[in-house]
């Protein structure tokens, strides 16, 4: 019989496979060069100008200071929402980026696993700049006394407040949480406008918002030894009861807030459906490029005081450099280049207020001095605390944040109608488990 038989079919299939995969071998050779590249993963900023400046600085540094050709630099834009999954896969495969921007507890998370280069020298150099840096940012990068990241921005979580509504109601911005409730009742007109866009969904922003209020009542999550969990305290009970009253009795928080995602409070404010929200200045930066009218009506204030005063939150973003890197000195050099005050200031200012500088002396510039919205920022940056207060942003604190233990606690109270003390007891137990596991490891 003429024609092909089984063996011929298999041979042909094999040949087709080889032909189809042929180009990959060529790619494989060209990709072999990649191991010698400087790889920087960029998480987008709010303004295209900031993105552009950062990109220029990467290539400038590579060409002028590292002697790398353009083809030896990989500048990858990675969407922030997806960065963690991508980073986890790349680390597992032994192919992480050389330099990346890391959020708060991620420095200690990856540092504790031995993935990050020691950047203590770079941080000490920054500290020697005139006026130094905001030491509040160091909690995020210090691991066993060594700096495993370089703080690049220390971001306060101010209350974004509608000045026009305060003016209409002839009231001042409230100084205490009790005043806040009274002012809220005066300026809101539900259902179109609620006073307080407090995030209460099962998301990270809820932990931030809830803890910030609890601190003002003297509460905290963990002691500074990063071991003793103190969620189940009278101070926290008082704070949680205040939130419960705002939600159930005074009705100044929209009911829908319990299902918000991290953007829920942003949307509420940007759509003029909330008069106050506690958030980093990402909302202000958004308004700067998308709604100047609302931006003019917006003031940025410290949180009102509770029985224990005002405690403001900060979060710290840092640059981290990974050890699996053929040229660690180049990675360190790139971070130093970014952090040279002149280079750094250009990027910081181009973000329209989203990033707040870690160098104190940069607050002397007209950008920060001339806008009244920013007048509280320097004090907030100086005295602010991380969400894990009184502990550091450790890997355990990161797990508490990412597994939404505190949002579940507040929903026990607001949705399941548990007593605050009972909900806090359950929450305390869960956080204890997390800290115990991490400390044991």
């Amino acid at each position: 019989m003429h024609g092909m038989h089984r063996r011929d079919v298999l041979k042909l299939a094999g040949a087709a496979g080889v032909a189809a995969t042929g180009p990959w071998w060529r790619v494989g050779r060209s990709q072999a060069q990649r191991a010698k590249k400087l790889v920087f993963w960029h998480l987008p900023n709010f303004t295209p100008l900031a993105d552009q400046l950062q990109k220029e600085q990467v290539y400038e540094f590579a060409a002028k200071h590292a002697g790398l050709k353009e083809s030896e630099v990989e500048y990858a834009v990675v969407a922030g929402e997806q960065a963690n999954a991508k980073l986890a896969a790349s680390i597992e495969a032994g192919n992480p980026p050389d330099v990346i921007r890391l959020y708060e507890s991620n420095v200690q998370f990856y540092g504790a696993q031995g993935h990050l280069i020691d950047l203590t020298d770079q941080v000490n150099k920054m500290r020697r700049e005139p006026k130094g840096i905001f030491e509040s940012s160091m909690a995020a990068v210090l691991y066993k006394g060594r700096a495993l990241g370089v703080p690049l921005a220390v971001n306060p979580w101010p209350v974004h407040a509608r000045l026009d509504l305060l003016e209409q109601a002839k009231v001042e911005y409230p100084k205490t949480w009790d005043e806040f409730i009274e002012v809220s009742k005066k300026i809101q007109s539900p259902p179109r406008l609620f006073a307080f866009g407090m995030c209460l969904g099962l998301v990270e922003d809820t932990t931030d918002n809830v803890m910030n209020l609890l601190w003002c009542y003297g509460g905290k999550m963990v002691e500074s030894d990063n071991k003793t969990v103190v969620m189940n305290s009278a101070a926290n009970v008082a704070g949680v009861k205040t939130i419960e009253a705002m939600f159930k009795t005074h009705k100044i928080i929209p009911q829908g807030a319990i299902s918000w995602d991290n953007s829920g409070n942003n949307k509420a404010y940007q759509s003029r459906q909330a008069a106050f929200v506690m958030n980093p200045s990402s909302i202000y930066a958004y308004l700067d490029s998308n709604d100047k009218d609302l931006q003019k009506r917006t003031g940025l204030f410290p949180v009102p005081a509770g029985p224990k005063g005002t405690v403001n939150q900060i979060d710290t973003w840092s640059y981290g450099a990974f050890k699996k890197n053929p040229y660690p000195d180049i990675a360190k050099g790139l971070i130093e280049y970014f952090m040279q005050p002149a280079n750094y200031d250009r990027i910081i200012q181009s973000t329209g207020g989203r990033w707040v500088p870690v160098y104190k002396r940069l607050f002397d510039s007209p950008f920060w001095r001339e806008k009244p919205e920013f007048k509280h920022f320097i004090n907030m940056a100086e005295t602010g605390v991380p969400v894990s207060y009184a502990g550091s942003p450790t890997a355990a604190a990161g797990e508490v944040l990412n597994t939404h233990v505190i949002p579940k606690m507040i929903q026990r109270v607001l949705v399941d109608n548990w007593e605050a003390a009972k909900a806090l007891e359950e929450c305390d137990k869960r956080i204890n488990e997390i800290y115990a596991r991490h400390n044991k490891a």
Binding site: M1, H2, G3, M4, H5, R6, D8, V9, L12, A13, G17, A20, T21, P23, W24, V27, G28, R29, Q31, R34, V39, W41, P44, N45, F46, P48, E74, A76, V77, V78, A79, G80, E81, Q82, A85, K86, A88, A89, S90, E92, A93, G94, N95, P191, R192, D205, N262, S263, N266, K267, Q270, S271, R272, Q273, P280, S282, I283, Y286, N290, D291
Partner: protein
């Protein structure tokens, strides 16, 4: 009075039609919402009252898609990757399915079952091992790497689907061709494949849409703009906790068009292929 048979049939028909209309609404509303959101200004998108249609229609979102992102590059990359994967799925699917359906060799049943098992493994379990494999092969951040990865779900599916279809082609036709001097490949290309066009259309359609819509692998394995696909490009409209809904919906609408066009072209065969495969497999 007892209901007549034609009356019952009419009632059933009405119930069926109502269900179909409900399903149609269920399917089309998200698509409609995507389009109208893409045409609304930010103030309207974030407004207190959700508007059913844009009161102040604007193309600002679309302008932003084309001026602030390399959207056409994303389209090009998605087209290259989905197109290549479709062709490869057809080629390897046909050869593999024919071998499994017609040839006798050790391990045939095991391979056939393995196809199903490999198709059922969730991508979330595979992306880290696959990243390691692609890193070793130096295929991270390349079109080829992504195409190769997509084989992991499209080739098993194509092979399995075609295998069922090839079983339904009468063996006598093939034997007659062999007797007349046609070889195995000749039989495959001259007898089996022309009779399997509906199944090939289904394979092409599914391979294309699966590759076009895939997100996880594209997100993890690709870094540069030169290789980035539409699905991962869309995520760049989310910056921290701020969503730029207008341009994101505009880009999502534009990215939904190619699979829609492909489906409209192959619709007749796709429906036929699915039904034939179902009853004769």
């Amino acid at each position: 009075m007892p209901r007549t048979r034609s009356g019952s049939r009419r009632l059933l028909k009405w119930i069926g039609n109502v269900l179909l209309v409900l399903l149609l609404v269920w399917t089309l509303v998200p698509f409609y919402w995507m389009i109208v959101t893409s045409l609304k200004p930010d103030r309207e998108i974030y407004g207190f009252e959700a508007t059913l249609y844009p009161h102040q229609p604007t193309l600002v979102g679309y302008a932003r898609v084309f001026t602030t992102t390399p959207f056409l590059k994303y389209v090009r990359n998605s087209a290259i990757i989905a197109g290549a994967n479709t062709l490869a799925s057809l080629l390897f699917g046909c050869l593999g399915a024919y071998a499994l359906a017609r040839l006798r060799f050790p391990g045939r049943a095991l391979i056939a079952r393995g196809l199903v098992v490999s198709y059922l493994v969730p991508p979330a379990l595979l992306f880290i091992p696959l990243f390691a494999v692609l890193s070793v092969l130096r295929l991270i951040d390349t079109h080829q790497g992504l195409i190769l990865t997509y084989f992991s779900f499209s080739v098993p599916f194509s092979t399995w689907l075609l295998m069922g279809y090839f079983h339904s082609v009468p063996l006598e036709l093939e034997e007659a061709a062999l007797v007349d001097g046609c070889g195995r490949l000749g039989t495959l290309f001259r007898i089996i494949l022309p009779m399997s066009l509906p199944a090939l259309a289904v394979v092409a359609f599914f391979a294309f849409t699966q590759s076009w819509n895939e997100f996880l692998y594209a997100n993890v394995f690709v870094n540069s703009v030169e290789v980035r696909t539409i699905t991962t490009g869309l995520t760049l409209f989310i910056v921290e906790d701020v969503f730029f809904w207008g341009p994101m919906m505009g880009a999502a609408f534009l990215s939904a068009l190619p699979p829609l066009v492909v489906y409209l072209i192959f619709q007749r065969w796709v429906v036929k292929g699915l039904t034939l495969g179902a009853v004769k497999g």
